[in-house]
């Protein structure tokens, strides 16, 4: 059997090790996306709607974070979580929790920037109307996020995709421990270097499928959302 055939066999037979790795990947990345989004979506919207102190600084910081290489984010989190680091006493280095933290940090600026970009033009459209009704700040935030939901979810999916595809940060803070912190990308890196191409390729196929799926959903959301866009 060819390597590709064996890889396909692993996927189709739902190999236990494979399922474990895919499951952990999804759990870590979904949790990270959720945590990052809960903070980044309201903050991104607030940055689009209001002028407030430190606003420019926040935007600059988050843009720089976006340009930061994942390994550097991984390194910083490693230093914070390592036994001598300020958060060392929690003992979460080399656990899935550490990986979730690292991925949240990586996703946060992406979701923040995409949310802000989605809400800026919408707020320009809506501002006068919402002012005329004296809409409260919380209501305003909810209204704009809801009406930009297609673009916001797209940002969220982009963040999820990045988290899932990322290697550098999770390998540093997770340690790539078999059966515990080994996710799809780190396994691919390790198994390829060991010459165990079947498992690596099987995971590659799954990662690719997820990426295609995410982009298909983004595309579908885009075409659906445009129905509600004012074109006049």
């Amino acid at each position: 059997m060819t390597i590709l055939g064996q890889a396909a066999e692993l996927v189709v037979s739902a190999d236990a090790e494979l399922i474990g790795i895919v499951g952990l990947s999804l759990r870590v990345s979904l949790t990270a996306t959720l945590i990052a989004s809960l903070l980044a979506i309201p903050l991104g919207a607030a940055l689009a709607i209001w002028q407030f102190p430190f606003r420019q600084i926040l935007i600059v910081i988050s843009t720089s974070l976006m340009a930061l290489p994942p390994v550097v984010v991984g390194l910083i989190i490693y230093l914070l979580l390592s036994r001598v680091g300020p958060l060392g006493h929690y003992g979460i280095l080399f656990t899935p929790t550490a990986m979730i933290i690292a991925q949240s940090v990586l996703i946060f600026p992406i979701v923040l920037a995409l949310t802000r970009e989605a809400i800026l033009p919408l707020n320009r459209d809506y501002k006068n109307l919402l002012d005329a009704w004296d809409v409260s700040p919380v209501q305003r935030l909810k209204t704009l996020i809801w009406d930009a939901r297609f673009a916001v979810v797209t940002g969220l999916l982009a963040g999820f995709g990045r988290a899932l595809a990322e290697v550098g940060a999770v390998i540093i803070v997770g340690g790539n421990i078999a059966g515990f912190t080994r996710v799809m990308t780190t396994t691919i890196a390790l198994e390829t270097s060991k010459g165990n191409l079947q498992l690596a390729l099987a995971l590659g196929i799954i990662l690719l499928s997820i990426a295609v799926l995410i982009n298909a959903v983004i595309h579908w959301i885009g075409s659906f959302g445009s129905k509600y866009q004012v074109t006049r």
């Binding site: 919408l122 459209d125 809506y126 006068n128 109307l129 002012d131 005329a132 009704w133 004296d134 809409v135 409260s136 209501q139 209204t143 009406d147 129905k227 509600y228 866009q229 004012v230 074109t231 006049r232």
Partner: protein, 230 residues
């Protein structure tokens, strides 16, 4: 003092005075038409009257209370209708929702009144100009305001849509509401208005009964405007 009162109101942007020392009182009854050439300051005046923008000098009160404190008792319709990226029905439901007073009956009645029932489920973005304008008025009326402020609600509309909107306005006034409407349609102003406010270059030049205004305005500017020379 019942009704609207403007006291020495001025509004400027970057040192340019766009509205100059405007004072008048207007009881909350009937329809007041705000007339004046393009750029006279009609839209600005309406925004100041509603309290969405603040004057640099002077003040606006409704029944003695500052305008920006009583916005919820008025409906405001902008010159270009602002459409929420939702269905037509959700657009109408929105002002009720933010005030925590959802009412299916009110939504249904407003859809009927604005002749939008068949389009209720459509994205509001797909409405034509006239339909969007009707929706905007229905959305302003749904919270049962005492006063309706309309900024050129019938510009770009065909006669049938104009008639429909005038019917909506008429019904609102018949129930005791009062209306401020800016318009360039002099025939419409004649049909609807009880009172006319004529402004030119940021100054209120006339505030008189509509009949007197159209019979013979006092200022040469208003005369020129009516003749189509301003």
């Amino acid at each position: 003092m019942s009704g609207l009162k403007l006291t020495n109101l001025s509004y400027s942007v970057d040192g340019t005075e766009l509205l100059h020392d405007i004072s008048f009182t207007q009881a909350s009854v009937g329809i007041s038409a705000i007339l004046g050439p393009n750029g006279a300051g009609k839209s600005l005046l309406l925004s100041l009257i509603h309290g969405v923008i603040k004057p640099n000098m002077g003040r606006v009160t409704w029944d003695g209370i500052l305008a920006d404190k009583t916005k919820l008792s008025r409906g405001f319709v902008f010159q270009t209708p602002i459409v929420l990226r939702r269905s037509v029905r959700a657009n109408l439901a929105y002002p009720l929702k933010i005030n925590g007073q959802h009412s299916e009956t009110a939504i249904k009645a407003m859809l009927e009144l604005s002749h939008l029932t068949p389009l209720a489920k459509q994205p509001a973005a797909s409405l034509s100009g006239g339909e969007a304008q009707r929706m905007a008025i229905a959305r302003a009326l749904i919270t049962k305001p005492e006063v309706l402020l309309l900024d050129e609600p019938c510009s770009n509309l065909d006669p049938a849509s104009t008639k429909l909107i005038e019917a909506m306005i008429g019904q609102f006034v018949a129930k005791g509401g009062s209306v401020f409407i800016s318009t360039h349609d002099l025939a419409q102003a004649k049909r609807l208005a009880d009172t006319v406010l004529f402004i030119n270059a940021g100054q209120l030049l006339e505030h008189t009964a509509a009949r007197d205004f159209f019979d013979g305005p006092e200022t040469p500017q208003a005369q020129a405007y009516l003749n189509g020379d301003l």
